[in-house]
Symmetry: C2
Subunit: 346 residues, 2 copies
């Protein structure tokens, strides 16, 4: 691994708000079902959980997606909920992740523990090592995990949710139990992410996929201090991308929680979002993923709008505002990457 | 009907930002499944669609919910999608609304028409007449409809959606067809809402339940002018409550679209939201509905937070930030109404 080449890469320069030759781009869920090369590997195993555990295959889909698309970073192939398994949750994929013993009451805490070593997620560490060996020496590897609220709400709801009723009810009715639980999540996250960094990641992203269901008051009281603790512990080693989707009113608090890069979803205009979080941090985003279903002329116009919203400021990492959709045409994603590289030139 | 008593009611004063004895309150979906009295009536018919069509029963649940809760307004029992039936869509409830011939291409427009008379929704008009006769003469009746985007996306997706892929794809790929369709929705909405007003409603609410999936740029370009046309046509007769859920970044545009009252969901702090839309309009909201699952002490504290956020300004209508949940305890909803009336006193 050539540290200097990585440090001077287009992607890492943008993380530090330094100018580079053009705008770096990667795509959330870039190693995913829309890619035939991914589907071929996926067909060799019975579930996404098994794919996450087969480090050789997980490394293969990570590297091949980066190379096929020509994006400026790779992201570890893994999933958010598996970290809950060593913490004491029974998780299966059928095909979506389902937890069979969700935490609902303070009394359930007795069976939940924080992980004590990154070896409890050894297969992810092995994936990171394998990927780092295969990637070009100017392509950073992004590690990641669910943000504390998202992981905790998975564990409490037992799966996806429309209203996060159980999670919020525990938060409101028993803040002591909520804090005791999320502190174990925080401790696990710090160990897990540090392990990913040791294994070869240059940057990590926190995904607060469900945090947008919270009011600003609730986010500040019940969530922000925990996200902050994870970020402070990690950013001693590598930069953190702090991403939350579903509520632009939380952006000032997301900034307060920390991160050298703030991820924006498409619900906010990038220009306004960047102003809100401050021009002293980098931003990542934020094309509406459905734009990729449009004809290329429309896609080009919409991509141009996102790039124009940066007003030529360094510190923009282009991405979608959320993950790429499973029925997307790979050609369109490739075309988008080329457009960004062309339009972002300085 | 005593016009002066209605005009001077607590609710209508708040709509005009005038002070009154205490804060008016109603609850979105107040005539709903959490109420045993509703369930008893509901058991007499096979579906929600049939309940909407049985004006005697729809009127009964409308009036009884207002009286049981002691809220300051009644809202017509009806649903958003049925307006699509006379426009040419095949709709069934199984049990959620499903459209069997969704509009996907410009070519589908041939089979879609705007309604020409409120008589095409005669049962809703009859419900309004029956309700107005039964309500106390200081209790306004709220009429309502889906906002243009929400109705159009129902018609295009064929039901609920996570990503609104078909709707946005039509918008992006064929803006001409999108506009031609939504103009028929707008025309239908104006006729439908005017009919409700003639039949006895003192105010109407537009529900943009799905509009939060849009970026500010897309809302401005593809949606705002249409919502604006509906509001301008209606507010010549009665005040309009303009409510959108799911994206606080759209609030400035919601204000631009119009309405004497702006509905806020719980994702924004009421104080910030009111400042954003301007203190010259009234606001409605915005307690997180899950708060009603908490113990009464916590509920009281959270209710106090919403009321304190108004800073004593007249022009606040208390409500949840979204509909009350089906498994809510009716006692808690009643307790909330009492708390608001007590805390809002001036």
């Amino acid at each position: 691994m050539n540290d200097k080449r990585l440090h001077d890469s287009r992607f890492m320069k943008a993380v530090r708000c330094e100018p580079s030759d053009t705008t770096p781009v990667w795509i959330m869920r870039q190693a995913g079902r829309y890619l035939p090369e991914y589907m071929e590997v996926r067909s060799k195993v019975s579930s996404v959980l098994e794919l996450c555990r087969r480090s050789d295959l997980a490394a293969e889909v990570t590297v091949s997606a980066q190379q096929i698309l020509g994006v400026d970073a790779a992201i570890l192939f893994a999933d958010l909920p598996p970290l809950l398994i060593p913490m004491g949750f029974e998780l299966t994929y059928e095909p979506g992740p389902t937890i069979h013993n969700p935490l609902r009451l303070g009394d359930d805490l007795g069976r939940i523990r924080a992980i004590e070593s990154a070896d409890e997620m050894a297969e992810v560490m092995e994936t990171a090592r394998l990927v780092r060996k295969e990637l070009a020496d100017d392509i950073p590897l992004i590690g990641f995990a669910g943000a504390p609220f998202t992981l905790a709400s998975y564990a409490i709801e037992g799966g996806g949710s429309r209203d996060f009723k159980h999670t919020k009810t525990l938060m409101y009715a028993d803040p002591g139990a909520w804090n005791a639980f999320i502190e174990r999540v925080v401790k696990s996250l710090i160990i897990y992410l540090r392990g990913q960094i040791t294994a070869g990641c240059q940057v990590v992203q926190l995904f607060d996929s469900w945090g947008g269901c919270l009011s600003p008051g609730d986010y500040r009281q019940f969530v922000m201090p925990h996200t902050q603790r994870v970020i402070r512990a990690i950013e001693q080693d590598v930069p953190v991308i702090n991403f939350l989707t579903g509520n632009p009113a939380l952006l000032p608090l997301l900034r307060e929680a920390g991160g050298q890069v703030i991820g924006l979803d498409w619900r906010v205009d990038l220009k306004d979002g960047w102003k809100t979080v401050g021009h002293d941090v980098a931003v990542q985003g934020n094309l509406d993923p459905v734009s990729l279903f449009a004809d290329l002329e429309t896609l080009r116009k919409r991509t141009r709008d996102v790039i124009d919203a940066t007003e030529g400021r360094p510190g923009h990492i282009f991405n979608l505002g959320h993950g790429v959709m499973p029925d997307m045409k790979p050609e369109n994603v490739k075309a988008l990457v080329e457009m960004v590289h062309e339009m972002g030139q300085r």
